[in-house]
Symmetry: C2
């Protein structure tokens, strides 16, 4: 049974599916900025209404201490497997709106892509699955599988309240496999991500004088918090780009020569990564390719720094404090909590006696590694072959999706990460976009995936696609 | 002839003199911020009207490419000396208004002080001279000296257009001595500043990738501009607090043991400076007192730093650039232009090959040293003794007033720097204030100064106060 009717429905409703996405993208659902909390709530409410119209059951807006979770399910086939669909409707800040070619929350279709904050991260990608469900339900009044949908509003701030929600609803949420699209393709080749880095997000604040001082009158006699912070940041890395914190690399898993050769074949080249990085120069740990540096090696990045006066002109001050936002990306078998202890110990060691320092932990997430031979992973490969017209590559991502680690931990199930975004989609940057071709193909891949999974998973192992892993990872 | 009638007038009009100051302080005449350009213009216009009402002649608002200069004079006594009065009506930014106890541009009288941006720097202090002129003119329909007033609107941004104004009007502005109050007392003792540090204000921008990147996807492969900037800032000072730029100290004048002992007697103690610094810790060049570090030693301060995301929460980015604002304070015989060359050369040397750096020069000013034995300095000491009831100390300041160097250069005249601000007046900080007692006493000192100068300067050397310098500097 091919999902012919569902595919036909999807193809003949592309303009409607696009219009729905544009509506979804209009909400400035920025979870990091308190002033957008009402927008986040309105977006959740719109999404819940939309899921009801699509035909899902038990739609609910579940409040948390932060942004609400939007839940929906369709579980009318007790003998079929259940897919847990995850996505997030919150988006990154777009405070740099003046650097966008079109306003971030006024979605604009231009040269075959939709431009808006959230277009690819993650509203556009999560909508491929919503629209696939809609196509099945409209075409057949039924789905080929059971589904449980969790659409989160705090992914961009570390999924703060998701763990306790999963914990509380462990029984109700039980599923066979999780499906998520919040990753990207390898150039224009479809890609399934099987590894994610973990994260540890921190703030380091350095405090000097109790109030801002005149730098003419006091310059030379007082340790400037900006200078002290800079001096401390300079000590976070060695000259050759390694993290300088003692024991930081102790638990980093080393990979076989075979795995590294496989990675070199399947992953992006240094040149490809530098091109995607907009002409930046190569940097970092020696003896690793850039793909390895951003996937199997951990890293520490300063995401922001602020202190003193940074308006136009000159202001002669020594500020009372300066702050940096830092994030670690961690790999198996590093434990975020152990890294946090190491970091705090190291900061205490390198804080000069002439100032005070404070470390605040914002959030953390476990690194993830999924078995490429799991049959859901193979079903996904087949769905790509049918829906996209091309076999996917299996790749590692340097990014972090906290929920993937949580699902592994709470439910013991793997997550299939189908990426439909392009590397140049500017996720987290200005002019974020999603190619319309990827959106429509993504919907077809998802339609196929539900059909294939519905027939096979949890029934028996006569999986239709049985290519060897080495062939898949080409 | 004592200025009895003028003093009587001033004493009986204190509440009017305060009301006038409050009105002056209401203008947010922030020269550094383009959005306040109209406020600067309105303030200049108000000031010109006020000077006309005070009774000065030839009041003019002289436009420049930046903020206008307000000029006024009274030159009706050809045989008497001429005092050039300088002040500035522009103020520091007050973008940190939420840290103020009362709004910075809503002047508030509280516990014997007026709180407002500009209260002591410099509107309140320059007004002591305006009100002294008013008292003389109201009481006697005449002044004891000729005066030429230059009130500038760009002091806080480096007096950009003042030099060319002085150049163009060298003949018309010819005077015997300059008078200015933009400095502070030593605790509650009146103080005359005889040395100022020069300045060199710069921006250092570090550029990485051409656009903001996702720090999960690229972290570890790209040199982060914030980290590169921090690493470069860390290399601006040695571990013992000296500026690390080669040849930076080559032209720094060394002082005799006698001068240093004099300074130790007349200047503030380390403890006094640390108390004024709001509980900060001692830092900087070894073998120098904090007073010496902030006056006879040059310094380099980072006034501000900014890069990446610094809103609430977390944003996983590698920014495309990061910027620091830096200011040198220079001493005799350092040349700001030579120091600029040294800085640019050093930055080029320490810029890693993995990023690009740009240096922008905002402004600079020469260091100043005035002969303490000049008779105008002694006239000022006597005026303090009469008007304030106490002899002043002669002190060095770590601050910079560009015009003092310009006046010395263009007119060959010394500037008498009468400080009426207190060290805890928060010049450049939140809750800037001026004590009302200092304002009223300042007016009387100024009344006395004009009378003493009018009788003596340029006539003959029978100066009434002839104490030895060593006694004065006690």
């Amino acid at each position: 049974m091919t999902p012919a009717q569902s595919l036909t429905y999807a193809r003949s409703h592309q303009s409607q599916f696009l219009a729905d996405l544009l509506e979804f993208l209009r909400f400035p659902s920025v979870s990091a900025q308190p002033q957008h909390a009402p927008d986040v709530k309105r977006c959740a409410s719109w999404l819940a209404d939309h899921l009801r119209r699509v035909g899902l059951d038990d739609v609910a807006i579940i409040p948390t201490a932060g942004s609400p979770i939007v839940y929906a399910q369709w579980t009318q086939l007790p003998d079929r497997p259940t897919v847990l669909i995850y996505g997030h409707y919150d988006v990154q800040p777009a405070d740099d709106a003046d650097t966008w070619r079109s306003p971030p929350f006024d979605p604009t279709v231009h040269r075959g892509a939709v431009y808006a904050r959230g277009a690819s991260d993650d509203k556009g990608q999560m909508f491929t699955h919503v629209k696939a469900l809609q196509a099945h339900l409209e075409a057949k009044r039924s789905l080929p599988v059971n589904v449980k949908c969790i659409f989160e509003g705090e992914e961009e701030v570390g999924s703060t309240h998701l763990a306790s929600f999963l914990e509380r609803n462990q029984e109700a949420l039980r599923s066979d496999v999780a499906l998520m699209s919040d990753t990207q393709m390898l150039a224009d080749r479809p890609a399934i991500v099987y590894a994610l880095r973990g994260a540890l997000n921190l703030e380091l604040e350095v405090q000097g004088p109790s109030r801002e001082l005149h730098s003419g009158l006091f310059g030379g006699a007082i340790h400037n918090p900006i200078e002290a912070l800079s001096e401390m940041i300079a000590r976070l890395h060695t000259l050759d780009g390694r993290v300088a914190i003692p024991h930081f690399y102790d638990q980093v898993r080393l990979w076989s020569e075979k795995e590294r050769v496989d990675m070199a074949h399947s992953g992006p080249s240094d040149e490809q990564i530098l091109r995607e990085a907009g002409g930046a120069f190569r940097w970092g740990e020696r003896n690793y390719s850039l793909y390895e540096r951003t996937t199997i090696r951990p890293t520490l990045t300063v995401n922001g720094i602020s202190g003193g006066y940074h308006g136009p002109g000159t202001k002669a001050v020594i500020p009372s404090h300066a702050t940096a936002k830092l994030s670690f990306r961690l790999v198996p078998d590093q434990d975020p909590l152990e890294i946090e202890r190491q970091f705090r110990r190291y900061i205490a060691d390198i804080t000069p006696s002439t100032i005070r320092s404070i470390v605040r932990t914002n959030s953390y997430a476990q690194p993830v590694l999924t078995d490429r031979r799991h049959r859901a992973m193979r079903a996904a490969a087949l769905a790509y072959a049918r829906g996209f017209g091309e076999m996917p590559v299996y790749v590692r991502s340097g990014g972090t999706i906290p929920v993937v680690g949580l699902l592994q931990e709470k439910f013991g199930i793997p997550t299939v990460l189908m990426g439909f975004a392009s590397p140049n989609d500017q996720r987290h940057g200005s002019d974020e976009k999603l190619n319309l071709d990827s959106y429509y193909k993504g919907i077809e891949v998802s339609i196929w995936f539900f059909s294939i999974i519905g027939k096979n998973l949890g029934v028996k192992a006569d999986f239709p696609y049985e290519s060897s892993e080495s062939k898949l990872s080409q």
